[in-house]
């Protein structure tokens, strides 16, 4: 008897019910995901100004992608996005790991601290952006603090090309560090105590324990975080749109912001779709690396 694989023995017996239960969701998938995806793919190779109406849609082959290679806004947005991703993901993960190590040791009121670190993760990016805008404004607390330590004319952070991207990164870090901490905390709790004892027996100290036990044992968590955090960092939008509008100049424009401007301010639906597919390609490549690399890089 094969009862472990499903309710019924006969493979096709549940076809009717199977489709009936699936139907509501499948229709939605079709209407709101699959059809839009195909439409978007078609648009990526077309030129279409929304204002010209349905008749204005024109197949242009690879021209959108050629244009992309010459578009300085696209180049800046891609580069800025990479900078944003590297720093936001790197710093969030590093600080998240430190926080997790701290809370994994004996601490009073552990639950309270975990909540305090994690709470920024549920605050909407719009609200966070509003807070950052106030904190970083000309006479805001950050500038006042900088003045109080003796720097006469602090920059207007969000309007200064040297600091605007750092401000957006700091927002991203604050938003995500709690999530990294949470994943690392779960991983640290799964490290068997015996392994640390084995290092102790061999005369290894705290550093040796960290390098030879902790780092390899939490590598699955590191890997998961790298992938999910990079993917989420490539979707950053609200802080840029609210705080800097990509400026000053092009210094903080990111991919999704450039797509947004192209589609909803310039109504160039084809070009915007082509860029959205480049975003998809980046996410796809990262996901494939995750699948392929999981076996090779991760020590379980």
């Amino acid at each position: 008897m094969k009862i472990s694989r499903g309710v019924s023995e006969n493979k096709g017996k549940d076809l009717g019910y199977g489709l009936l239960f699936l139907l509501p969701n499948l229709l939605g998938l079709l209407a709101f995901i699959l059809i839009p995806v195909l439409f978007s793919l078609y648009l990526a190779f077309s030129e279409w100004n929304l204002l010209s109406g349905a008749a204005g849609i024109r197949w242009v082959g690879l021209r959108n992608f050629v244009e992309m290679s010459r578009d300085p806004w696209f180049a800046s947005s891609l580069w800025n996005n990479i900078v944003y991703s590297v720093f936001t993901v790197g710093i969030s993960m590093f600080l998240g790991l430190l926080a997790a190590i701290l809370l994994n040791a004996k601490v009073f009121a552990k639950g309270l601290f975990r909540t305090m670190f994690f709470v920024p993760y549920v605050v909407s990016t719009v609200a966070i952006s509003a807070i950052w805008m106030a904190l970083l404004s000309r006479f805001g607390p950050v500038s006042e603090f900088v003045r109080s330590i003796g720097i006469e004319n602090p920059p207007v952070w969000l309007m200064d090309a040297r600091f605007a991207m750092s401000a957006i990164i700091s927002l991203g870090v604050w938003n995500h560090v709690g999530y990294c901490m949470l994943i690392y905390l779960a991983a640290l709790q799964g490290v068997p105590k015996e392994l640390y004892e084995a290092v102790e027996v061999d005369g290894g100290g705290a550093l040796s324990k960290f390098v030879h036990v902790t780092i390899p044992m939490i590598s699955p968590a590191t890997f998961l975080l790298v992938v999910t955090q990079i993917i989420s960092s490539f979707k950053v939008f609200a802080p840029v749109q609210i705080l800097t509008r990509g400026g000053p100049g092009r210094s903080t424009s990111v991919l999704v912001y450039h797509i947004y401007r192209t589609a909803y301010q310039n109504y160039r639906m084809g070009y915007a779709s082509a860029m959205a597919w480049v975003l998809f390609a980046i996410i796809f490549i990262i996901t494939v690396i995750q699948w392929k690399g999981q076996k090779r890089w991760v020590n379980y």
Binding site: G6, L15, G18, S124, I242
Partner: protein, 287 residues
């Protein structure tokens, strides 16, 4: 000898306690640093504008002032209406999401038919598609069907978020098939098994999905920004940007709007933290 042992015990015990206190102090310092932007937001929202940027920072205002909230809630922008819109959109899409996702998850986990696993693979692969790819075609399709600038444009796609199917399917797989099989032998239909056996057992997963999707729906900014143009339809995040644009330098007012926007999410998160954490750890996805 006995004394020696006792001494040793206390000397090794004491540093551990001291270390624990030191760690707690560090954690407290870091934790306060993490929540300080939120505390500052709350504090600024209760101050008159002239005091917002007084330095050194006074966290507890000289006198608590509710005027900013009065202006947010009864001023030129209908914040109460934004709230109502957010509640409406979130409630309907989350309800729809849970109903359609749990039905699909039952189909993917408890029923057997040819092509099932291929279909599930199709579902999984759509989880990779960034919403930005879908935004432009949805915008055009919604425009053609006349639902652009209506709440349908937010509610309908909100019902079909694939990670809901994924999360529930993973949980349903852990429910032993013997339970549903014996019910089937007793003559129960699939709808009975689904509603009487599977759903009650899946309560933790359902609550996780409920809270996670509530938080992301409530905070969603891009979709209402793109799909809505009438102010009376705005949800809270887009509504908030009106304050940011209009009252560019009146930070006390903007902070009162931010507090109003953040409060429901914080309440839901704190009430169901365990389930929220479970949900985001399982799916690893930020909506």
């Amino acid at each position: 000898m006995g004394k020696l042992l006792k001494d040793k015990a206390t000397t090794t015990k004491e540093p551990v306690e001291i270390q624990k206190i030191v760690r707690t102090v560090i954690a407290l310092f870091l934790g306060l640093f993490m929540v300080s932007p939120l505390i500052w937001m709350l504090s600024a929202s209760l101050k008159p504008e002239v005091e917002v940027f007084s330095y050194p920072i006074r966290i507890i205002p000289r006198s608590i002032m509710w005027d900013n909230y009065r202006e947010v809630w009864a001023g030129i922008y209908p914040f109460g209406l934004f709230y109502f819109n957010s509640i409406k959109v979130t409630f309907i899409s989350v309800t729809g999401l849970i109903i359609t996702s749990s039905l699909a998850a039952y189909s993917f986990s408890k029923l057997r038919y040819p092509g099932r696993d291929a279909l599930f693979l199709l579902y999984l692969s759509t989880m990779m598609i960034p919403p930005q790819v879908l935004m432009v075609p949805r915008f055009i399709l919604f425009r053609n069907f006349g639902i652009l600038n209506t709440h349908y444009a937010l509610i309908l796609p909100g019902i079909f978020i694939i990670f809901g199917v994924f999360l529930l399917r993973q949980f349903f797989m852990t429910i032993p098939n013997e339970l549903s099989e014996s019910a089937l032998i007793d003559g129960a239909g699939h709808f009975t098994i689904f509603s009487r056996i599977i759903m009650p057992l899946a309560k933790p997963a359902i609550i996780s999905l409920l809270i996670v999707s509530f938080v992301w729906r409530w905070n969603d900014y891009e979709e209402p920004l793109i799909f809505l143009s009438s102010k009376d339809l705005f949800t809270i995040p887009v509504g908030m940007t009106l304050f940011v644009d209009e009252f560019e330098t009146r930070y006390s007012l903007i902070m009162a709007a931010a507090v109003s926007a953040v409060l429901p999410v914080l309440a839901v998160f704190l009430a169901g933290q365990k389930f929220f954490v479970q949900g985001v750890v399982t799916t690893g996805i930020k909506g």
